[in-house]
Symmetry: C2
Subunit: 220 residues, 2 copies
Amino acid sequence: MKKDMDRMIIPKPAIVRLSTLYVLLENLEAEGKSMIYSAEIGKLLGVPSHTIRKDISFLRQAGTGNGYEITNLKNIIAEYLGFNKYKKACIVGMGRLGTVITTKNGFYSNQYAVVAGFDNNPEKIKKGRNDMDLYPMSKLKEVIDREQIKIGIITVPQSSARKVANELIDCGIKGIINFSPVLIEINREDVFIRNIFIAGEFNILSALISQYENKQTLGE
Amino acid sequence: MKKDMDRMIIPKPAIVRLSTLYVLLENLEAEGKSMIYSAEIGKLLGVPSHTIRKDISFLRQAGTGNGYEITNLKNIIAEYLGFNKYKKACIVGMGRLGTVITTKNGFYSNQYAVVAGFDNNPEKIKKGRNDMDLYPMSKLKEVIDREQIKIGIITVPQSSARKVANELIDCGIKGIINFSPVLIEINREDVFIRNIFIAGEFNILSALISQYENKQTLGE
DNA sequence: GACTGTGAAGTAGTTCACAGCA
DNA sequence: TGCTGTGAACTACTTCACAGTC
């Protein structure tokens, strides 16, 4: 296996941390801050400073030796991880959840670019929105092709989630954020899925709390 | 380090997978299915069958050698990971998102037990709900103590998320699911937080897609 | 002088491969 | 025969520690 290629393969957990760091940097930039240190980033992200330095070192071009210039670091991350390449997303399911998470100045505000919404209920399409275009499901392929969308968000009920995921993939979508309360698994290594699975989160917390208590009891 | 204690410490990723598996088993049980094999679970969860077998083997009591009896496996997981211990949660922020994710027969339905909702806007409390009790923020400690709640969900805007998290922890909450678009970090090893950070998910997908494309181009 | 950058060392998690069981 | 269960081997990730930089 070659190791000295221009662009090394970054470990997945590092990608996840850097992706989160990017959003953090955007916020700090908006607050007017200009420099930041690895120790500070670590505190904000809840990981040790050496992990941050290591993650940034995978990018092979960041530092000046004394802290990071926020705008610069942000741009390097975006360029290296390809954020600028795939900005556009579409959402399928314009029910209450779909509406909440895509409303500008709403809960998740304008942090990402959802350019098209789909629903098979014509009533939901008819309402219209002034910040994104709404279409019936029949237009899925046409719009995804035209807008070159690579990311899809699923906010349809459980019963149709799997079907919608397949449709999105058939239309060329390469990344899916699934909010429906069912796990979607993808047997293709070229399509990535992030399941936002709240019932699971709930159980994970119960388990972590119990484990912690057991560990305490065992005296370790 | 002792290795042969009754209840071994399970790796965190395994806890996460088992917690998710539990929800999956609940669904399968509801569909009337009674047996399942590791290969099948693996396919549904998107991980290899040996990972599943290994995860289950940490529980030290599951198998009969030929598939898993769903109800039995479910109960073993719940018992081992302590799901039955901490069932109750509360939610802070009864805005649109908070309402959507806690409405029964709504998007996330009745898969978890949110027993109390809090908001500092009296209008939102006044509306009332027939499936959970609503309170002003001033009742936080009282209700959490009385109901022995250990898990809190945060659906307040960015600006007050950090403050609410601290209040929850002061009231004895040990696990937090944070939906607000800001990372909350906790410097205590006895409190766990799961950040549902959608802008981050979006970036993660962009990055994974780009990485994949780079890997392909490099010919690996 | 204080911080970063990064090979090397260490640790945690995953995969293998096969023995054991129904 | 077909599946699970699990130490052992392996791989991936994290942490260390210190040389390099401003």
